[in-house]
């Protein structure tokens, strides 16, 4: 049964091979360090990209709360999609109005949720 998933392992191995090679080849083939190791250019090279003033950057700096909101909405609606897939796959073979009614009811409920979120202004990017 699981035997048919074997190619996944082959593709995974190929992906790791290529990805790993791309990520490490520069260590082997590229120049090891900048000329004149102690020069200010060699030190400045390690700075993150910045335009103009020196960068004052830390990994914990803040970002807009809108991103967080989008992530929450995504979980809500993506679960809707995931739940619909199994039902969608059997809809034709069962051919029953009951299953159809279930689908329509489920989607309608989430559509109401979408309209609520929309009216609340959560879909407007700020």
């Amino acid at each position: 049964m699981l035997h048919q998933y074997l190619p996944v392992l082959v593709f995974a191995a190929l992906g790791i091979l290529v990805g790993g090679a791309f990520a490490t080849l520069n260590l082997v083939l590229g120049p090891k360090r900048l000329k004149g190791d102690e020069s200010s250019a060699a030190i400045r090279q390690m700075d993150p990209y910045e335009c103009g003033l020196p960068s004052e950057i830390s990994k914990t700096f803040r970002f807009g709360v809108s991103f967080y909101l989008v992530a929450m909405l995504f979980i809500l609606f993506d679960i809707e999609v995931v739940f619909l897939y199994p039902v969608g796959a059997i809809l034709k073979s069962t051919d029953s109005v009951f299953v159809l009614a279930e689908v329509v009811l489920f989607v309608a409920l989430l559509f109401v949720a979408l309209i609520y979120v929309w009216r609340k202004g959560a879909l407007d990017w700020r």
């Binding site: 190619p7 490490t24 990209y49 991103f67 073979s93 329509v104």
Partner: protein, 338 residues
């Protein structure tokens, strides 16, 4: 015949190849797509050149055919580099993650039906299209980790943008394929192609097709949805701090994903491997459809300007999502009634 488990029919995938055939065909599919990627890179630059009334690359080799090789050579000879604020392990693993995810997704593309002892596809499993969504979503971790671990604000903003964009359009994309799944009654991509014997699903599912294409542009960060790497405001988005072949990995994965999205669109809507001629030509038809769709991606890049970020988000949530939902409802009713 469909298996009956708990009284419900499941997508049947009775045919399983011999082990060595599985390994060989995986290698063949991988090598074909791998060699398509540099050609695609060159093709894009050539076409963009023509769209802008210039020649494009034509110095390296005949017709500039050596250009991708020269590019790779240049990228490989760069210094391996990590900026000061970067998180060591994550910074290095992020580009590899995007490549692994793209290569894994390749396995699902069907290039033909079972012929003799060989199924012309990587895998044909009951979960089918969910496999595509599962593995193409992993690319998202590559971008997000890469941008976050770089320790640069341009990278970080680019990563957050691409994360929000990817998840917003993934919902509409998932719903757009649901119509096809309902009509075919199966999740297996091979079964879905076979179900298109009479009419390709692009005709009854034209709305789904268009939504999927738009979602595909957004998922692969292609223009007009290339906000994460908007060069005018974010330098290069999540890739700002990357150089050499690590930067190349992101580009490589982007082009591979473009091919994969084209492949899925061909499979779900354009009849997959179907075309005139003997069954031996099936993989050729599939590749041809993929390449035509990819050229369409390039054409759009030359034609449309970039979205503004708030336009992008409201387009995804306020237009595509309701439209895709309606498409699903109408399809569901039509499938049961007819």
């Amino acid at each position: 015949m469909p298996d009956l488990v708990l009284g419900l029919p499941l997508a049947d995938t009775n045919f399983v190849d011999a082990t060595w055939i599985m390994i060989v065909k995986s290698l063949v599919i991988f090598i074909v797509i791998l060699s398509l990627v540099p050609l695609l890179l060159l093709g894009e630059r050539k076409l963009l050149g023509r769209f802008q009334q210039r020649y494009g690359p034509n110095r390296v080799g005949p017709y500039g055919l050596g250009q991708p090789l020269a590019d790779v050579g240049k990228l490989l000879s760069k210094q391996a580099f990590r900026p000061k604020g970067a998180v060591p392990f994550l910074y290095e693993i992020a580009p590899a993650l995007t490549i692994i995810s793209a290569v894994l997704t390749l396995a699902i593309l069907p290039f033909g039906d079972v012929q003799g002892d060989v199924g012309f596809y990587g895998i044909d499993v009951p979960i089918g299209i969910l496999y595509f969504f599962a593995f193409s979503s992993i690319a998202f971790y590559g971008l997000l980790l890469g941008g976050w671990a770089s320790g640069s604000k341009y990278s970080f903003l680019g990563a957050m943008r691409s994360a929000a964009q990817l998840i917003s359009y993934e919902i509409a994309m998932g719903l757009s394929l649901l119509g096809v799944v309902m009509m075919a009654g199966s999740l297996s991509l091979v079964d879905i192609v076979k179900a298109q014997g009479e009419v390709w699903y692009v005709v009854p599912q034209i709305v789904g097709f268009l939504i999927f294409l738009v979602g595909g542009f957004a998922e692969t960060n292609r223009p007009p949805f290339d906000l994460p790497e908007a060069d005018a405001e974010l330098v290069a988005g999540y890739g700002t701090e990357y150089g050499g072949m690590r930067f190349g990995s992101f580009m490589f994965a982007e082009y591979m994903e473009m091919l994969i999205v084209s492949g899925i669109a061909s499979t779900m809507f354009l009849g997959g491997w179907m075309g005139p001629g003997p069954p031996g030509l099936d993989p050729v038809w599939m590749l041809l459809k993929m390449i035509v769709l990819t050229i369409f991606f390039i054409w759009i890049r030359a034609t449309l300007p970039r979205f503004r970020y708030d336009q992008l988000m409201s387009f995804g949530w306020k237009i595509l999502l309701p439209l895709a939902t309606l498409n699903v409802l109408v399809t569901a009713v039509l499938v049961v009634v007819t």
